[in-house]
């Protein structure tokens, strides 16, 4: 009888331990919503930021001009790594410092000249510790219209 009581109590105890350890690993809905807001806010701000390319060109304009580098009037749009280098400078001082794992991807339309000159088929990717197995919160794709179709910018926060 005594042994039965002990076994039941241990079972109840184990149930609580399991429940607690499982629930503490899952981020809350509030945290998920915050991650999404950070992703949206980051891309929105990035695309309207001056790209330091001469003139008043923003990152949005830089991506647009990079889609057809032979016709651009922006000096830095000729460099295929211009966006990645400049965006990394900002990411180092923001999301990296705040401890986020993220993946920023820019997809060029398939017929854009940029897609033809780059070996990775028109995709710019900046990945900071984001693994395929991780869950993610993504901002909706930001489209930038060009002569060849839309360039899409997608930011995902992984956890």
């Amino acid at each position: 009888m005594g042994l039965a009581v002990i076994v039941i109590l241990l079972a109840v105890g184990m149930f609580f331990v399991t429940k607690f350890s499982l629930s503490s690993q899952q981020p809350t809905e509030v945290a998920n919503s915050q991650m999404k807001q950070v992703a949206i806010g980051f891309v929105n701000t990035l695309l309207s930021t001056d790209a330091n390319c001469g003139g008043t060109a923003t990152f949005s304009r830089l991506l647009e001009e990079m889609s057809a580098p032979e016709y651009t009037i922006l000096a830095c749009a000729v460099d295929p790594d211009a966006f990645k280098t400049k965006a990394t400078q900002i990411l180092d001082k923001t999301l990296n410092m705040w401890g986020y794992k993220y993946k920023l991807t820019v997809y060029y339309p398939p017929n854009a000249p940029y897609s033809l000159i780059k070996p990775n088929e028109g995709v710019i990717e900046i990945n900071h510790e984001c693994l395929e197995t991780m869950d993610e919160e993504a901002a909706p794709p930001f489209p930038i219209p060009t002569d060849y179709g839309d360039v899409r910018v997608i930011m995902k926060i992984c956890y």
Binding site: V12, G13, Q34, G41, N44, S48, T94
Partner: protein, 179 residues
């Protein structure tokens, strides 16, 4: 019928007493273990509740930080406007922020914004493009004297300069809430 000897009766009574004592001892041990487990369960439950309460408070305070960030975004004092209309969402006027920074230490400014920001520090830092490292611009600073913790919320913002060159920098709005 023969009566059992006195020795046999004593032996029988002694055996019965020993058995009862053993059972009693067993019961005491079980009750002891039961209470030990009960104490463990109560301590564990209290720990869970404590952790959950702390998590809830943290979320609440983080939420308050984001609320303050939202309030800053809607302050007409710092919004980029053209013909009284906001130019785009998340756009902050650099000159207005500089003007607020200049008066952020004054008591009058603290009193004026206390209802909106409470005990917190709201500052803006330019991240890109940047030639030399600049100190953050403080919009509001009201530190709680004996605070126990600070919750920090960072929000990316566009810091625009429409008076000089019509350029927007990448900035970070930092809200520190004191509890």
């Amino acid at each position: 019928m023969t009566m059992p000897s006195e020795e046999a009766v004593l032996k029988y009574t002694d055996m019965k007493t020993k058995k009862s004592q053993m059972q009693m001892g067993e019961n005491v041990i079980i009750i002891f273990i039961f209470f030990i487990l009960l104490i463990f369960a109560v301590v564990f439950f209290m720990k869970i509740q404590g952790a959950k309460t702390k998590q809830r408070i943290d979320i609440d305070i983080t939420g308050r930080g984001l609320q303050i960030a939202q309030k800053v975004a809607f302050l007409p004092e710092v919004q980029c406007t053209k013909d009284n209309a906001e130019i785009f969402s998340g756009c902050y006027d650099e000159f207005s922020i500089r003007a607020l920074d200049a008066i952020s230490g004054t008591k009058a400014q603290r009193d004026y914004y206390y209802d909106v920001f409470g005990f917190s520090t709201v500052s803006v830092r330019k991240i890109f493009p940047i030639d030399i490292e600049q100190k953050p611009l403080v919009l509001y600073n009201n530190t709680l004297g004996n605070y126990t913790s600070i919750i920090v919320s960072n929000v990316p913002i566009s810091l625009c300069n429409f008076l000089e060159d019509r350029r927007c920098s990448f900035g970070v709005l930092k809200v520190e809430v004191y509890t």
